[in-house]
Amino acid sequence: MSLTRRDFLKGAGTGAGLAAAVDLAPAEVAAQELKTKGAKEVPSICYYCAVGCGIVASVADGKVVAIQGDPAHPINRGALCSKAQAYIQVLDHPQRLTKALYRAPGAGEWQEKPLDWAMAEIAQRIRSTRDATFKEAEDGVTVNRTEAIAALGSAIIANEECYLLTKLMRGLGVVWLEHQARI
């Protein structure tokens, strides 16, 4: 072992002899396979601000395994900010809503409800409020509206969805129609 000690001194002494190791096992291991390998790449647009960055969701077995900037996108060219990078945490977030919740008047808690029930109830509420408050004319002019229902949002849904909401709300005679663009 004194030989080892001399080697040791010599090795350290030459200063550079740092890789000098008597290898008993190969150290360099092959790099891991890309976690996105074989995943389907679905292009989308970022959810946050209106720069409109392209993102690519890598989907394997129906699950998004990575969200990255779209390198082909002319605006962001693969780049993303911290918010977009963190978006993947939304998808299987433990606190994410997956069931319709209902809070009865005066109740202190939510109740879980079937979606179908909730939609039926909402449609009923709209109908009864609308019917009770609908104004066909004002000062002899047809106005065809209800001023008792308001709708708000949204600037984070697709154009087509916005269009459907506008069309539906105006179709029902809703005049209180607003969203984020005015705040």
Partner: protein, 802 residues
């Protein structure tokens, strides 16, 4: 965005993100692009690499300022004074682009001799009614009705001379005393930006909510528009007044008219007073000149799209089916009405007013007065959970709440319109979990269920709804079918129209939103899906990528990128030019050609009548330096409604037309009690109300708590340590935050007075992983005179150690 709309004709970002790289000077003011639009900064830096100068004007030194060549501080709410000072600098030193101003704007128009401005008021102010009679705000006209002009700009009645006189008061000294910007720093910024007044040079202004959330926001943006017109920076590559919009589809949702006063495509919502009939509507709403003369085609096509066969020539194309407005139903009015108990039901999709709304204490209280509330969200938000918020006893809240789980944008398809007006399709990546559904599904299901409920009704009140066309599938709607309707089609064969040029006012065409027309020009051809990018070294037009409204024009008003003779001001950054030899389909010669789609009639020669009128959406085709808005046709500085100082420019303290709400919870602060200016803002790490981002551990890790930024001087005065808790209090409420004591805020020296300012991000609320008080508990229900957007960027508070 009426500030842009009245000046240029369209209320949208004039240029687009990549185009920023073509600028020679970038002025970021009223925006903190590095933090709130980080990727936009890619293009700001690209411009800088090509020699551009970056100017940051902001009350506090932000991450944007950190990268800037020049930084100038200004007190919140004094931007008009600052920009007015720049206008004055440009005019006094003859730095404006003479030919551009003379030919492309209404600077040469002669104003009514009775028009004037005196001590804070334009002519026509009625102190009794507290409103303006706009009779004198008009041009002198020739016999044919066109405005009288003086091409020399010397006539004292020209818009130009009025402008010069009006802003002569905005001296650098005045800027220093009003804004607190040291004169030297103001001048450095003014000089650097004014250099873009040389023909061929371009300067861009990037702004965001730092400009829109003021009681005179519209005029503020007008001031920028005027400055840019003087410098010849509109319509050119690397120029523009660019509204950096904050949400992925806020441009699209605005285009789609989720706003009380419009219908899709910026068609005004009919009002009882002005539009009892279709004829009255078309008569009042259609200008005699400019591209808007086509409005009847767009409006009738919309009615055709919505009411289908029920819309006939004989019944005013079902015009009477549309609801009519009788009041202002804008955002704060909505909550005031709710607070007053006038609303029964409220449907909220993807918005969180309990955090984002000004005076959120009032807005949360208002929710308690509802009978029912529907919220669609990814997480349980403060709005959905208002009944268990701080200080609320659930037992006393009778509101029924339905909280529906929403899918994420990755779990649904559809198109987003970015700030640069690009419609970009996004494909669905995964299925949503459990009962989470898209908003399209919600609208579709609701419509189908209501249709079923009303089926068979003969009540006249239900006729309109039953006539509403609705055929998009059963569950998740077919969004491409929706987009095809938005694009428009000929009724006879349901074939898509190629563009809005093919729409008609006789009921033969239907179109859901005329400005989007062209996005779906043929069966199965969805141009929002186009994905052919230009090479990086190009001008960045990217005509093959996505679809940009209108008709794929990338830079609005691009006729102005060429001189009156049709030759580009800057050959290297040429967008379009007149090619006298180019052949038209009909064999005639001469048309506009170039890398962008001309925002102009393609065959209208420069020397033809109107051939030099680049702002086609304005009646006279000229840029509106003079353009009437609620509080005047020229911008004027007024103090914010809550301000610690007197207005030095006139005896009119605040915008006389500002909207101030007056419910019991709408209190205004006395500067003696609340001497500190406050502003709110956003951070890179969170999005708006944080309803999503405050639930994401990686983001919460970076920005865990609400904080309040303040200068070292103020902190010392108040005995506040960096990192220690503080209470920030306004007349509306108080919040607890952590002090961020920093050199990035400096006290403002206004003459011999020192005014402090603090800043507080508004992302926090009482739900989620990272909880905190909402900054909007401090902000007032005070609205801009034209848009009624709240004044949350300049209000008064006091700060103390917690």
């Amino acid at each position: 965005m009426p500030g842009l709309g009245t000046s240029f004709g369209r209320g949208a970002m004039t240029n687009h993100w990549i185009d920023v790289k073509n600028a020679d000077a970038v002025l970021i003011m009223g925006s903190n692009a590095a933090e709130n639009h980080p990727i936009a900064f890619k293009w700001v830096l690209a411009a800088m690499e090509r020699g551009a100068v970056l100017l940051s004007v902001d009350p506090r030194f932000s991450r944007t300022s950190a990268l800037a060549d020049l930084y100038a501080p200004l007190r919140s709410g004094t931007d008009i004074a600052f920009l007015g000072g720049m206008i004055n600098h440009v005019l006094r030193n003859n730095l404006f682009q003479r030919e551009y101003v003379g030919e492309y704007t209404n600077a040469s128009f002669l104003l009514d001799p009775a028009f004037g401005f005196k001590d804070g008021y334009f002519t026509g102010w009625d102190p009794e009614k507290k409103t303006y009679d706009r009779a004198t705000w008009k041009f002198q006209v020739e016999a044919d009705g066109t405005p009288k002009q003086d091409g020399s700009l010397r006539d004292p009645h020209t818009v130009f001379q009025h402008l010069r006189r009006h802003f002569a008061r905005y001296t650098p000294e005045m800027v220093e005393r009003v804004c607190g910007t040291p004169k030297a720093e103001f001048l450095r910024v003014a000089e650097a930006f004014a250099r873009t007044g040389a023909p061929g040079k371009a300067g861009t202004i990037m702004y965001a909510m730092g400009w829109t959330q003021h009681s005179k926001a519209t005029q503020l943006i007008r001031t920028a528009a005027i400055l840019q017109m003087l410098l010849g920076n509109i319509g050119v590559a690397g120029g523009g007044v660019n509204a950096l919009r904050g949400l992925s589809n806020v441009q699209g949702s605005t285009d789609m008219a989720l706003l009380f006063h419009i219908l899709p495509g910026y068609l005004g919502m009919p009002t009882r007073k002005d539009h009892p009939t279709l004829a009255a509507y078309l008569e009042k709403e259609t200008p005699k000149t400019g591209y808007w003369v086509n409005k009847p085609k767009f409006f009738v096509s919309l009615l055709r799209a919505w009411y289908g066969e029920a819309a006939t020539k004989d019944n005013e194309f079902a015009y009477q089916y549309l609801p009519k407005n009788s009041a202002n139903y804008s955002y704060m009015d909505l909550f005031e009405a709710m607070y007053a108990g006038k609303l029964k039901g409220f449907i909220v999709t993807g918005q969180n007013p309990a955090v984002s709304g000004p005076n959120s204490t009032l807005e949360r209280k208002a929710l308690e007065k509802l009978e029912w509330l529907v919220v669609r969200e990814l997480f349980e938000t403060e709005t959905a959970a208002f009944w268990k918020g701080p200080g609320v006893d659930p037992a006393k809240v009778q509101t029924e709440v339905f909280l529906l789980p929403s899918s994420t944008h990755l779990e649904r398809e559809g198109s987003y319109t970015n700030s640069g007006r690009w419609l970009q399709w996004k494909w669905k990546a995964a299925d949503p979990p459990g009962d989470a559904r898209s908003d399209g599904w919600f609208a579709n299901q609701l419509a189908l269920r209501l249709k079923a409920l009303y089926a068979g009704s003969r009540a006249p009140t239900d006729r309109a709804f039953l006539a509403l066309t609705w055929d998009y599938g059963k569950e998740e709607p077919d969004l491409e079918k929706v987009l095809a309707e938005v694009n428009g089609y000929t009724v006879a064969d349901r074939k898509p129209v190629k563009s809005f040029a093919f729409l008609a006012d006789d009921g033969s065409t239907a179109c859901g939103n005329w400005i989007y027309s062209g996005v779906f020009p043929a069966e199965g051809q969805n141009r929002a899906k186009s994905r052919k990018a230009d090479p990086p070294e190009s001008l960045g037009i990217n005509a093959g990528w996505a679809f940009s409204w209108p008709v794929n024009r990338r830079i609005l008003y691009n006729r102005a990128s060429a001189d009156p003779r049709g030759k580009p001001w800057n050959q290297e950054k040429a967008l379009i030019w007149w090619d006298a030899e180019a052949e038209l389909p009909d064999g005639k010669k001469g048309k506009w050609v170039g890398v962008d789609v001309p925002d102009f009639r393609p065959d209208l020669a420069p020397d033809a009548k109107g051939g030099g009128n680049p702002f086609i959406m304005r009646p006279d085709g000229k840029g509106g330096i003079f353009a009437p808005l609620a509080e005047g046709p020229l911008p004027e500085h007024y103090e914010p409604v809550e301000s610690p100082v007197k207005n030095l420019l006139s005896n009119v303290q605040a915008n006389p037309m500002a909207v101030i709400y007056k419910a019991d919870l709408d209190k205004l602060g006395d500067p003696k009690e609340f001497p500190i200016v406050a502003t709110t803002y956003r951070l890179t790490e969170h999005q708006h109300t944080g309803s999503i981002t405050r639930n994401l551990p990686w983001l919460v890790e970076m920005m865990p708590n609400l904080f309040c930024e303040m200068s070292r001087e103020l902190a010392e005065e108040k005995g506040i340590r960096n990192g220690a808790p503080v209470i920030v209090r306004s007349a509306r409420g108080e919040v607890r935050a952590i002090a961020a004591v920093t050199g990035r805020f400096k006290p403002f020296k206004l003459g011999d007075r020192v005014v402090h300012e603090v800043g507080i991000p508004w992302h926090w609320g009482f739900m989620g992983l990272a909880k905190g008080d909402s900054a909007n508990m401090l902000t007032p229900h005070v609205g801009d005179a034209n848009t009624r957007i709240q004044e949350s960027k300049a209000f008064l508070v006091d700060v103390r150690k917690a």
